[in-house]
């Protein structure tokens, strides 16, 4: 049961007889009258329990975009149901409007819709809805909360997809789909073709030129073209341990890792490589394996969506085994983690040697722009000490990077916005150098 502001106004009207007569008697009589009117109104209100509701909601939405949630309200009362409906989504689902007026004649159905603009990645849930139906006088309402679970999966935003077209263009240049071919791009022999101005003269195949008989007379030079390797294995390992929970530029490291993994996966599938994803800390939290083509990205975002960083130390010793379980061939192993402190990363360093003997290992780590900024601020005593601590942090990172390079790995670092394209560039560079 609930009362409306009109009911309060009706009660307040009792002030008039009290002022006119100055009698205590009205103090009891007027509330009794309003109570009777209210009870009559309540009796005439439609039962909220007899409203049947169907909720249609998209199964997934990208973070930052909106989805339409539709509610069909069927009134099995004989009376019209007028009142308020609240679909109790979690606050981070960003339901708007959070409550809406409804008016459904008896025996009919109406459709209402609300937009969901989630503000956090993961599973956003709704477990119940509440209906308040007013009587014909709109004084008193019946109210009931009914269970009707629903959910929407909020996928990582993949903001870095804006970098994809430029990187794809670079890739196409590598593959020779552009007229300008540069020798040395790729190591796999592709084909012979006629020389055009701009080709590297070192790629002219003299033997093929000599063999070629030109019907029109004269000699045309032939050049060899190369294309990058295809069907290489790319294993992306994302660390979902405690260091990934840290926020840099108001974005958890894990989300940056997702962004760079998605961009790299999009690029690598276009380049014809096989991409596998592994999200793990002490156990495998998510795995995408053996999927190719357009389905890969959707499977990846779907796997990533509900996974948040946990405050535990990742079990790096299990990593070589996990990579072996995915592929036996030589692969590009991209490890998205943080290399802030040598103490915290000893686990990673101890297994890196095992990985680099067989695979090409690329460690990507987010750097904090706040640290770089702190090194430049020398305005006072506190700030200088802070700058010293920041320098010390940078030194730690560079020592870690040096250690990783010593073990045969590659390192890519960058602030959250720049890391995904930097990783993509590194991948293209590796591909161009034929190191995959």
């Amino acid at each position: 049961m609930a009362i409306s502001g009109w009911f309060v106004a009706l009660v307040a009207l009792g002030a008039i007889p009290i002022v006119v007569t100055g009698d205590w008697y009205w103090m009891l009589v007027w509330p009794a009258i309003t109570l009777l009117i209210g009870l009559a109104d309540l009796w005439l209100a439609a039962s909220p329990r007899k409203l049947l509701i169907r909720r249609e909601v998209p199964s997934r939405v990208r973070l930052g975009e909106s989805a339409l949630c539709q509610l069909t309200v069927e009134n099995t009362n004989r009376r019209a149901a007028r009142g308020l409906l609240r679909d109790a989504w979690q606050p981070s689902a960003g339901a708007n409007p959070s409550r809406m007026p409804i008016r459904v004649p008896g025996g009919e159905r109406r459709r209402y819709s609300l937009t969901l603009t989630p503000i956090r990645r993961g599973e956003r849930k709704v477990s119940q809805f509440t209906i308040r139906t007013f009587g014909p006088l709109r004084l008193v309402a019946r109210q009931a909360t009914l269970n009707l679970p629903g959910r929407i999966r909020v996928l990582p935003p993949f903001n870095s997809r804006k970098h994809l077209p430029s990187r794809l263009a670079m890739l196409r240049e590598l593959e020779g789909r552009t007229p300008v071919m540069i020798r040395g791009q790729g190591t796999e022999f592709d084909s012979l073709r006629e020389y055009v101005r701009g080709d590297d003269r070192r790629s002219i195949d003299w033997r093929a030129t000599a063999r070629r008989h030109d019907p029109q007379g004269g000699n045309r030079l032939m050049v060899r073209t190369w294309r990058p390797e295809r069907d290489r294995q790319v294993v992306i390992v994302i660390d979902s341990g405690r260091t990934s929970a840290a926020r840099i530029d108001n974005e958890p490291r894990l989300d940056t890792a997702y962004e760079s993994a998605l961009l790299l996966a999009a690029l690598a599938t276009h380049a014809g490589d096989r991409v596998h994803l592994l999200i793990f800390d002490r156990r495998v939290r998510g795995r995408v394996q053996g999927v190719s083509g357009p389905e890969l990205l959707s499977r990846m975002v779907d796997t990533m969506a509900p996974i948040d960083a946990e405050l535990i130390e990742p079990d790096w010793a299990a990593l070589p085994g996990l990579v072996r379980s995915i592929t036996n061939q030589r692969a590009l192993v991209v490890i998205a983690t943080s290399i802030d402190a040598p103490g915290a990363s000893t686990g990673l360093l101890s297994v890196l040697g095992q990985l680099t003997t067989k695979h090409l290992v690329l460690v990507s780590s987010v750097t904090d722009p706040a640290v770089l900024e702190a090194t430049r601020d020398r305005s006072g005593r506190e700030e200088v000490y802070r700058a010293a601590a920041a320098e010390r942090a940078l030194l730690d990172i560079s020592r870690m990077a040096a250690a990783i390079r010593q073990l045969g790995g590659e390192v890519v670092t960058g602030p959250p916005q720049e890391l995904p394209p930097a990783l993509a560039d590194q991948y293209i560079a590796l591909k161009a150098a034929g190191r995959l």
């Binding site: 009362i3 009911f7 309060v8 307040a12 009792g14 002030a15 009290i18 002022v19 006119v20 100055g22 009698d23 205590w24 103090m27 007027w30 329990r49 049947l52 509701i53 169907r54 909720r55 249609e56 909601v57 998209p58 199964s59 997934r60 069927e74 989504w89 979690q90 606050p91 119940q128 509440t130 308040r132 109210q143 009931a144 909360t145 009914l146 269970n147 629903g150 959910r151 405690r242 929970a245 960083a309 402190a341 904090d368 706040a370 640290v371 702190a374 090194t375 006072g380 005593r381 200088v384 000490y385 802070r386 010293a388 601590a389 920041a390 320098e391 942090a393 940078l394 560079s398 040096a402």
Partner: protein
């Protein structure tokens, strides 16, 4: 995109129906009803009484005066216990045969009520009158402070002579004007005319002012002639009204705010409370329960850096902090000059000295050797490091890379 549909079957209910709710709350409703019943019965049975007050006629404790009242009853005096003026007014006893015993230490009665008491009685006995009571009824008598000890009658007032010797513990009074027919008894013996009982004649009625508070109480009435005095003073007539006014007799002045406000103001204010409760119910009713959501942990990444900075500052680890700054500067200068990562500090210093035209020894002192003595010096070193870095950058800006080139050649 595929959609999840939840079927339009009847959803399980979260809110219990009114009947279910009543059933669940039955125990508490019964308890509340029982409590209300008990409170109501108690309200009806237990009326407020004067028991517990000093000199109350129904209090058997040492401070009360039940013994006196009971003995008076046995002697045939009709004792009526009153705590309001109305009870005194409604007394059926004839005024000629009525004694009123008034004990009002808090001065709840105003002057007109006191005079009214004098009218309703043939003998008015006032126990320990206050200043205002004396002013209204006996302006010729004044208070003389507390007194203690024993005294003998020393007057012609019959109950006093019968008592002969009493304990005078209580208040003493003094005649400050001569009054015809007045009797002052039980002098304290200090030579200052302090009397414990004063009897005044008022047109064939008498007004007895008694200060011997303890002599009338249960605890001390059996000592000396206390009982004889008390019985004599109070038992002279057939009826006795034992009047101890309560706070309800007090009035709040001539024209109070209540008299000036219209009659509807108080009901309206009370009614506003009802409206307030209704509005509270209106605003307080939630549209369904709160929704639970797990929030992510927020771990600011730069926390370790800030912590280390505070540690440096707290421990005044100037040299360590300065070394960190130096390492950063050396690394950046080496990067600007295009030196390899493996370049030693001395190579970087040489390159920087050549670029900025500064002596090598100065840079060595700045970048390696010197130790800061205090925080001010530490800050100045940091500034110099920064200016050196800027100088190197500036020297390289015009695109003149010659100074670093031979260096590079040496490295390879």
């Amino acid at each position: 995109m595929s959609t999840i549909e939840t079927a339009a079957t009847k959803a399980p209910e979260e809110t219990p129906t009114v009947r279910a709710r009543l059933r669940r709350a039955r125990f508490w409703i019964l308890i509340a009803l029982a409590l209300l019943l008990i409170i109501g019965i108690a309200f009806i049975i237990l009326k407020p009484s004067s028991a517990g007050l000093a000199l109350s006629a129904s209090d058997p404790s040492p401070n009360g005066a039940k013994a006196l009242a009971e003995v008076l009853k046995q002697q045939g005096v009709e004792v009526t216990i009153a705590d309001s003026m109305d009870e005194v007014r409604d007394s059926p006893a004839p005024i000629q045969q009525t004694t009123i015993f008034l004990y009002d230490p808090s001065s709840f009665l105003n002057d007109s009520k006191l005079l009214e008491l004098a009218r309703y009685s043939s003998v008015l006995v006032i126990m320990e009158p206050t200043f205002s009571q004396l002013l209204a009824l006996a302006p010729e008598v004044a208070q003389a402070g507390p007194t203690k000890g024993t005294a003998s009658a020393g007057c012609d007032y019959r109950p006093a002579t019968q008592a002969d010797q009493i304990a005078t513990d209580g208040t003493a009074f003094r005649m400050i004007e001569a009054a015809p027919g007045a009797e002052a008894c039980f002098d304290s013996g200090t030579g200052t005319d302090e009397k414990s009982v004063i009897v005044l004649d008022r047109d064939s009625k008498s007004l007895v002012i008694v200060g011997t508070h303890d002599a009338f109480s249960n605890g001390a009435i059996d000592q000396l002639g206390n009982a004889a005095l008390a019985l004599g003073v109070l038992g002279s007539k057939d009826n006795l009204i034992w009047f101890m006014p309560t706070i309800r007799e007090a009035d709040a002045g001539a024209l109070s705010l209540v008299d000036l406000t219209p009659a509807w103001v108080t009901p309206l204010l009370s009614f506003a409370l009802i409206v307030f409760v209704a509005a509270a119910i209106w605003r307080g009713r939630r549209l369904g329960s709160l929704v639970v959501e797990n929030l992510p942990v927020v771990v600011p990444a730069s926390e370790t850096m800030e912590g280390r900075a505070r540690l440096y500052a707290a421990g005044s680890a100037r040299l360590r902090a300065l070394d960190a700054l130096r390492v950063g500067t050396v690394a950046r200068i080496s990067q600007y000059c295009g030196l390899p990562r493996s370049a030693t500090v001395n190579e970087v210093i040489n390159a920087a000295a050549r670029l900025t035209n500064r002596p090598v020894s100065e840079l060595e002192a700045l970048l390696i050797n010197s130790e800061p003595a205090g925080d001010a010096e530490f800050v100045s070193y940091s500034d110099r490091l920064l200016s050196l870095e800027n100088a190197v950058k500036k020297a390289l800006l015009p695109g003149d890379l010659t100074p670093s080139d031979p260096n590079k050649g040496k490295q390879e």
